[in-house]
Amino acid sequence: MSTDNFKVFRKGMKDGVPIALGYLAVSFSLGIAAKRAGLSSVQGFLASAFCLSSTGEYVGFTLIAAGATYLEIALATLVANARYLLMSCSLSQKMSEGMKLRHRISIAFGVTDEIFGITIARSGYLNPFYTYGAMSVAIPAWSVGTALGVIAGNVLPLRLVSAFSVALYGMFLAVIIPEAKKDKIVAALITIGFIASYAASYLPVISELAEGTRTIILTVVISAVAAILFPRDTNEEAAA
């Protein structure tokens, strides 16, 4: 690593610290979900280290707990993580054409809402070492937090587990609400999502489907209808 790259790496680490702190708290609640699904702390650690996705992992753990099939898990993971597809598309525009393949496949590992956020905020073409710096503090925090959640979810009083369990939903809200504030259609879709999901948990036939399957169906139907009725302006920056 050259001196310049090292400086950029350290800058990435510094910007990654607040992300790591947030990850530690949120992944702890994810660990509680992993525990419920019957995962050990090592399994929780590995799932987080290799998936690095709150939504995807949460859906996965829920399905594991329900004894889902491998195909269901694969499909649900695909749907839950669809936004990373968009982020990666957008991030590809941030890379110079000469960016080495090994950098592309390494950065891909760290495409999360937050790391993507700070990476895309850099000016000019991306120096991959910035993203590596952020990943080097954020990924261990995420993985260790999950393992701690599996271990301490047991030890903690029910009162605290109950409180920590909503951290993840808080994080989901922190992702969707700012966009709802900017975009009325997104605000409407979130409201429709809440109502439809509530209705689906009571309606005959659909309420008998697995929770993950319901999530996939509702997401695909609502998003597809919205995409037909309210297509985005293609010139607009699509990501984030």
Binding site: R83, S88, R159, L173, S201, I222, P231
Partner: protein, 100 residues
Amino acid sequence: MSNYSYIFIMAAVTYAIRVLPLTLIRKQIKNRFLQSFLYYVPYVTLAVMTFPAILHATQSKISGAAALVGGIVVAWLGFDLFKVAVTCCGIVLVLELFLV
């Protein structure tokens, strides 16, 4: 079915989603439907997963509902991910001192 197989599938699918666009697609997606669909997906899926599930995550439905409302307000005010998550936890912790 082994937990390690589950984890492997989750990791493989997640990584494929992230790595394929970065290595294969060098240009912006042009299809307007696909672009719009992909844009809406994360918000819809997170909304569907949040409610009514948040009501069942806590010991009392009231504290779950309060965390939902509180989280929406704090996120609307522009607080970051960490603060929104902590606010939701705090609301549940305090309310359940009285409710449970």
